[in-house]
Symmetry: C2
Subunit: 427 residues, 2 copies
């Protein structure tokens, strides 16, 4: 039987979306990668546990980024004067085309993987590009970080420049199969996720084939949904048979329902029917407040989604978002919900700090299994945060320290980081 280990410190975690448990000078005990629980004193049955004393540092779950684009990392913070469809054509597509060259991909992904390793994130859903080689390169590099990630070779056979799109359904499927042969079951920390870019980029024929691959390989799915009003109108035109955008995935078995999860980024303008289907099928929503703001998409009604019991986490959506930090996504989620409340719809109250923290940890973590909190049976993903730089003229409660860590994360440092029970050595 494996040795029991533990972290001692100032422990905070969500127990549900409305509740953050705070325990001072407490013990987070785990065996292998599995959490046994958080205790005020070490229970007799765990006597002899090997404890790492984190002193006054704050220990929280690792954060989950449910939506990001690794090849866009190089130009985050640039070109923020465009809306979605122009932004794709002028920024995203030209940059992604460079990843046909393996050497370029290696250079770019090395930087991405290093920065993710050093971040507060322990779990990620990542879009690569359409290139199988470059996607495998990214998976190799993410494997080495020790973070747990899902990485997708992108599929796109229409409405993209010739230099980037897949030239036929057959070639798209062949390259996707090649990628799956090289990645399914090949990694300890990384797994492939099917990634039709979004409906405007994939013909119905291609969607159908991706659906078959999902059936065959039992894979998770990631894509985009109802981000922008022009995009929604375009999907309606491309798929006149669909009643709503979500159906264009659902028809081909790419919208939840299976054991391997589906996550859809954005859902800014999902209508009632789409919401119902997401709920019924257990589709996860990746809320990306910075991206939705930067490319002027709008503000998703997250309060409603949470109260309806939708599954929901946060995404950085780089480079629509500029910040890799899920702490910043938590803050922006609260901030934009306040603007939505005061400018759009007074019936949906702003998100609370508890809800934002939940989405960035436990809510997003659920996509990866029992991840994102410190309850018994969950996997040990943890951050040990040094918030010394935030000391003030009086003492803060632990709950207050947590809130300040989230709002002022750039002033804090990560003293230690664990993913699935393994320590990640950062910086």
């Amino acid at each position: 039987m494996k040795k029991i280990k533990g972290l001692k410190g100032q422990i905070c975690f969500s127990s549900d979306r409305k509740t953050i448990i705070v325990m001072e000078n407490a013990y987070l005990l785990y065996r292998d990668n599995e959490i046994l629980g958080v205790f005020k004193t070490i229970p007799p049955e765990y006597a002899g546990a090997q404890i790492r004393d984190c002193g006054n540092h704050v220990i929280i779950p690792g954060l989950a980024d449910l939506h990001t684009h690794a090849p866009q990392y190089g130009y985050r913070g640039l070109g923020m004067d465009l809306e979605l469809l122009d932004w794709l054509n002028q920024r995203a597509f030209p940059e992604e085309a460079r990843f046909s060259v393996r050497e370029y991909a290696e250079n770019a992904y090395r930087i991405f993987a290093r920065d993710m390793k050093n971040s507060a994130t322990t779990r990620l859903c990542i879009f690569a590009t359409r290139h199988a080689d470059a996607t495998v390169c990214l998976m190799d590099m993410m494997e080495e970080t020790g973070l747990k990630s899902m990485v997708g070779k992108v599929n796109m056979d229409r409405n993209a420049p010739d230099y980037l799109r897949e030239s036929s359904v057959l070639s798209a499927v062949n390259e996707t199969k090649d990628w799956l042969d090289r990645s399914v079951g090949k990694y300890r920390n990384v797994q492939p996720v099917l990634t039709p870019r979004f409906t405007p980029s994939c013909t119905d024929d291609l969607m159908e084939q991706i659906g078959k691959l999902r059936e065959q390989y039992d894979l998770p799915v990631q894509s985009h949904l109802s981000e922008n009003r022009d995009e929604i109108a375009w999907v309606k035109k491309l798929c006149p048979w669909s009643k709503f955008y979500g159906e264009t995935y659902d028809r081909y078995g790419l919208f939840g329902k299976k054991k391997a999860n589906t996550v859809m980024a954005h859902c800014v303008y999902s209508g009632e029917e789409e919401q119902k289907l997401m709920k019924k099928n257990g589709v996860f929503i990746a809320h990306c407040p910075e991206s939705n703001t930067n490319i002027a998409s709008g503000i998703a009604p997250i309060r409603k989604y949470l109260e309806d019991g939708q599954k929901i986490g946060l995404g950085s959506d780089m480079a629509g978002g500029s910040a890799e930090s899920i702490f910043r996504a938590m803050v922006l989620a609260i901030q934009v919900s306040k603007l939505r409340y005061c400018l759009v719809d007074k019936s949906l109250k702003p998100l609370t700090f508890e809800e934002a923290f939940y989405m960035g940890s436990m809510g997003g973590g659920e996509f990866f299994g029992k991840v994102g909190t410190f309850q018994s049976g969950y996997e040990l993903d943890a951050l040990v945060i040094n918030d010394n730089a935030l000391h003030g003229p009086y003492g803060y409660t632990l709950r207050e320290r947590l809130e300040r860590i989230v709002y002022l994360s750039e002033r804090c440092t990560i003293a230690a980081k664990y993913a699935a029970g393994k320590e990640i050595i950062i910086k």
Copy 2:
């Protein structure tokens, strides 16, 4: 004649609100505290200038924070679930009351001054509390930082708890005079600014007396204006004689017009008449996008103000805002302008990067004189930025580096900082 000095590096600065000048490997020359200009090569008349080579670092003007509350610094990032008037009663007033004890003020302001010194800000307009002693303590500490700041003892004789408000107009005026006697002309880097908290906190009698002090001492003024709809309705009730909020300052000579400037924070809901008076009187607007978001005030129509030729800069408004960084205020100014554009009013286009950078440097700098750009005759406020952590898979243009520095400022470090020609040694 003083020695000519210079900084060599990658230089960026606004020449007006629509234009950022970028010059690679250029020389920023200055004598004493005054800029001579930026040059590709050193002109013969300045041969022998003593040059500091900043290599590949990016050199930009120091940033101006037109609105912040030093006593609230200790609880930034906390209590963000309240709107303005509740937030004042539950958070701001109880904390400010602690500053009646000099020792507490010293502890709190020492932290504030240290962090401002280490920030990207070189110029600040600061609210203290109503206490003369504590305000002088803050001025002493700000003086030592070498930053250029205006600091105000707050006036407030109504609608605040007994434990905090000034008990009579007479005692308020006496304490204000005491403070002015101890601070006018006493500092090299700090000067007093008259600070009626806002109209709901000041009786007409007190406003009248503050107006007289302005006349007598020729002082600048700072206050709040049209931040929140409930606040505006309250002002209307308190001053039924006023046609709009701005008149409640203007009537007593506290709304621009003089050589010593006036700055009003927020102006989220200023109507046409108020805007006209601001323009006519040369009142500065301190746009505080994070605070306006955090306490759910709304989004100010900054595009309109800029196009109308209003004078405008950015404010952190801690602790309504959590971040001291004017880089973050620039980003948020752009972001909220996009949400305003897509949710409220399509006739006002989002702010450009140029405009946000202008407001944070040259726009706000103007409040302090010839400050905030690198044109000849301006005071030398400069930041030397190390953006090595932002290197990517390809080279960026200098203009792109600047944009990434602003969006990703927390990944950069300040290698050197100057205010009014003097180097500030940070960290």
